[in-house]
Amino acid sequence: MTPTRRRLLAAPLALPLAAPFIRRAVAARSITFAAYSGIFQENYEPAVVEAFRRAHPDIEVTYYPIANSAQALGLVRAQKAAPQIDVVMMDVSVAKTGTDEGLFEPLPKGSLPVLDELTPKAFIEGVAGPAVLFDNYVLLYSPPQVKPAPTSWKALWDPAYDGKIAVQAAPDIVGIALTLIANKVFGGGDYHQSVAAGIDAIAQMAPRVLTWDPKPDAYTFLIDGTAALGVGWNARGQTYARQSQGKLGVAIPDEGSLFQINTINLVKGSRETDAAKAFISYALGTAAQKAFTERMFYGPVNTKAEISPEALARTAATPERLSRMLDVDWIAISKMRDAITDQWRRKILRAR
């Protein structure tokens, strides 16, 4: 090929166009990781995914944001014949459905060295992948409107907050969790038997609720002052509270709370199983668990991760809080979900 003026000019122009593919060629293996979008992605990507990329330059990770676990399951289902996603993070009850449908590769204890470092609670019977992050249910409040900070879930039943409560209704997991909490707080006993006490209590509160479907979410309703009380999850609550300049407060009430479990799963049929396992190992490892807990206050699953006391105090993973947690079997709850939702429709959402 004779070097002509045109070719000499074309070469530097073509280089930027080809750059993405050149990078891909350097990263010999490429995996896609599906996990939650929004504030979760904003924090997980720099704390865990970027760190993994630095530790494994030969593996390219693409973060595929998903709105929720159900959407992730829908994607994995649709791609069953030719999976495009290699690793997926999702709620434990949705992961159980995916496992039952044979969408995930089982990762039992012993299949990866890092699994020996995890708390026994990270292994859930009937679910392919281990838990990767714990979160816990919290009472959200608006510090300018609620003084002093609430210490009991019963603040939600205080007539002073008429028209100032934002709660996501069942079938959303937030509404289901409120049913379990109300059932405990109002003396309902074992939720496996009945949640009638919880349903009746929420029905009493219902006329004072501003909205059962806060959009985009309850955190926003509290930060902009539309609501004074709400319920949500600790990690997001703490992160938004830190950014809100005193407009959002997060309380873990004295009666205790409950954990929500996020699992990490290897998709069956992944073309890069080894790379995917390397990523899962990293996400469960001490470095990633410490970095993400200290950044977004999810509860760690790795018992060897040395979390700073300040970060730990913002999670429910302290000994005294752990002792007050309601032990929830989310797999059993997923079977009760339709019945609980039905009660919400008949007794709660109709109350005016």
Partner: protein, 276 residues
């Protein structure tokens, strides 16, 4: 020649078969599977989902609520849109295009933005409740997160479609007929009732069909302004598909929405023929 004309239809037919009919058939087939606990889908064909759905009063109330709320919105859009459409139709030619653009302009803004706009106006600390409080109403009724908010916002959102349909149907309106009626002693209201209204029926039918179909299928506005208290078919389909993971029930409800559209179209066809 005829063969060539048929051949020209092939691309459009193929696209419709591939991207509309085939997914619709798949959707219908999905409704004949059982929903397993925790979001699973049964593998064998079954009538279980339909049996449960039709036996549950909640879904009947959902259907009734969707139809009633959509009819209220359609009528409200008609009552608000009709005078505007008539005004635009009768405006001098040089103003007509400008007025039409003004009527259609809201469509340039996303329905989400307009819905949030209504949240600002009707919300507890919004313009209207603040005004009512300033006028001495201590506890004005809640205007959002219930049926009121959904009806008000959807009426405004669907009004451009109603106005466009009415304008399209006003073709038979002839000022000469109105003048003739007036010269024979008819009062303005009689002229409207006996001449203008009957001649604008095609536009009214078209506008009502369009607004009703769009109201039944609207999701964003009821979702943002209903506050979880306005159970409608579209929001229930979302909950079943995305939150409860019950795809068979979501598919069956989608088929029901299609059936509602079918009934609306049949009614429209019959009324149009009767009117013609």
């Amino acid at each position: 020649m005829r063969r060539t004309a048929l051949l020209l239809l092939v691309p459009a037919l193929a696209v419709n078969l591939l991207v509309f009919l085939w997914p619709m058939l798949n959707l219908a087939a999905l409704s004949f599977r059982d929903a397993l606990p925790g979001g699973g889908i049964g593998t064998v064909l079954s009538l279980g989902t339909w049996r449960d759905l039709l036996a549950d009063g909640y879904y009947w109330s959902l259907l009734l609520n969707s139809v009633v709320v959509s009819l209220i919105i359609t009528l409200a859009a008609l009552f608000c849109g009709y005078p505007i459409a008539l005004f635009v139709h009768r405006a001098p030619a040089r103003w007509r295009n400008l007025l039409m653009v003004a009527c259609i302009a809201p469509l340039l803004v996303s329905a989400v933005v307009r819905t949030y706009g209504w949240l600002v106006i009707l919300g507890d600390r919004g313009l209207l409740p603040s005004l009512l409080r300033a006028l001495g109403w201590v506890r004005p009724p809640r205007l959002v997160f219930n049926e009121i908010g959904v009806v008000v916002a959807l009426t405004e959102i669907l009004m451009p479609y109603m106005i466009l349909s009415l304008l399209a149907g006003f073709g038979r309106l002839n000022p000469v007929l109105e003048e003739a009626a007036a010269s024979l002693g008819a009062r303005p209201f009689t002229v409207f009732r006996r001449i203008v209204l009957p001649l604008s029926v095609p536009g009214i039918l078209l506008g009502c069909l369009l607004a009703f179909v769009l109201a039944v299928s609207s999701f964003i506005t009821p979702s943002l302004l209903g506050g979880g208290r306005v159970p409608l078919l579209a929001t229930e389909i979302y909950d079943q598909a995305i939150v409860s993971l019950n795809w068979p029930v979501a598919a069956a409800l989608s088929v029901i929405v299609l059936a509602v559209f079918g009934v609306a179209l049949t009614l429209y066809g019959r009324l149009s023929r009767a009117e013609a």
